[in-house]
Symmetry: C2
Subunit: 333 residues, 2 copies
Amino acid sequence: MRAVIGVDVGGTTSVAGLVASDGAVLAEASAPTHHRGPGTAVETLVELIESVRGRAREEKLELLGIGLGVPAVVDPSGGRIGGEALHVPELAGRALGPWLAERFGLPTFVDNDVNALALAEWTFGAGHGVRSLVVLALGTGLGAGIVLDGQLVRGAEGFGGELGHSPVKFDGRPCWCGGRGCLAVYASGRGIAEAARARVAGRAGEALLTAAGGDPARITAPLVFRAAAHGDPTATGIVEEACLALGAMIGIVVNGLNPELLLITGGVAGALAPLEGRVLRAAEGFAFSRALARTRIRLVPGDKRLTARGGAALVLYETARAERAGCAASPGG
Amino acid sequence: MRAVIGVDVGGTTSVAGLVASDGAVLAEASAPTHHRGPGTAVETLVELIESVRGRAREEKLELLGIGLGVPAVVDPSGGRIGGEALHVPELAGRALGPWLAERFGLPTFVDNDVNALALAEWTFGAGHGVRSLVVLALGTGLGAGIVLDGQLVRGAEGFGGELGHSPVKFDGRPCWCGGRGCLAVYASGRGIAEAARARVAGRAGEALLTAAGGDPARITAPLVFRAAAHGDPTATGIVEEACLALGAMIGIVVNGLNPELLLITGGVAGALAPLEGRVLRAAEGFAFSRALARTRIRLVPGDKRLTARGGAALVLYETARAERAGCAASPGG
């Protein structure tokens, strides 16, 4: 039987999985990314990969390759990891793929973690069988992955899918990325927490501030969602704005790309799930109704089982792509 | 020699061209789309195609097919023309391709006119040789066409590329499409003229109103650009907003899709060309700098010679796609 090794590199925790070609996770290993101290992420990854490779050997599985999803932009030509908003700073500028390929003697592919997640959803998950899907991952940050007509959209420099830092309000609030009015400002965990902190700062008696023990720095997105559910007007305003901004991005995706499936996932998506009706009504205010009718929209909490499967899906995607390229280049093609 | 027939169907004028496979226009015919009266667009198209087909016969050219660009959304599976913002109402709901294919005994393809323009730029124009490009066509309305990794983005229902009606401000002004804060509201000819009319209505002494002979309905986008060039503050505000909104859309395209080339064309783009620096500075406020460095941005007036070549490029694109599909399906593939 054939299998692949999929790795999800996180700012906090990393996971490696031994994944069958049907997506079944046969073995898994995880560890804090820096469990041997700062700057040791690559050591951790090597350990995790070795661990699941050992399992593959025991089971006598043929390994097709290794795929890694990293929380960064990855240059599609050289595989170099970009430094933008990178939580694993020692990876910046590294071409991890070729190095691991040599280390393990296996084809190795590296891509952005949400790109890998989109491939996993497309290969094993909710997007199985569609030609095109967009995944928006609303966590602390906000990433996206785009598959159109069976191809992952990487872009010239690997920024394809950076919809979290695409503007939904050209005169909106400044974003930590240096931009303005980005979706992440309104609909990511960090953006929601920062908006709440700014609104309650110095305003004693605000329920959000009381709930955070008087310290604005302790306000988190889950706290904002809880306060909104209890009717706090400040929190409600922030959640309403998140729904509207997300509705606008749904409008951009539905009108601009019109995929068969738009999957909105991650922790913040889980918190928004009870407000799905509100988000969809906001989207109706932006998208053409016939376009919206053909893009299925699902708002779901993240499926933790997909983390290691992202890298695995990347290997299967690249293997299939190489086979197609061989076909097109063949004399009979 | 092989050639194709390309047709550009306009709300006012339609053009058919006999186009060689290298893009050379060998013959051209044009007519007002409704020159035989309301509801006669299809008759006109048949006449125009017959005219250039006659020329192909004289020259003993082998015809590969007919391609039409229409100012509408086209369903990619059935080829049915959508009714959204359609200036040639009798085409709504028609599957023009199969009908013309039968009428002329030639493979016939129909797509959105800016999709066809994007294919023309990619096949014969500024985008020749790139893997991915986005064309924004800023005219009276605002359309776009997207080619990613060599594939035209049509979307599930044909709305792929409707970036003109994608929001750049989630709490922005209502758009005639039913949406809100669309790019077209700020950066199309219609949007610019409507913004100016709203701002000067009832305000005697406004330079824009005087220039329009006191009648707000006579204010046009070119008039707004001229008044801004002469320092009129109302017109300048509207043009500044157009630059900012366009900069935000450049940010969405560069961060979200990161194509090799972004071509901004059409009449309004021509008027904005002297303000290119302003538009690019606005874009820098939204896009990641490394992403922006790899997407070449060109702001150019439309190339009228490309109109008929759009349909021609569509035929060449579809022919190549069918050949690739044959390869993938072959036993050796």
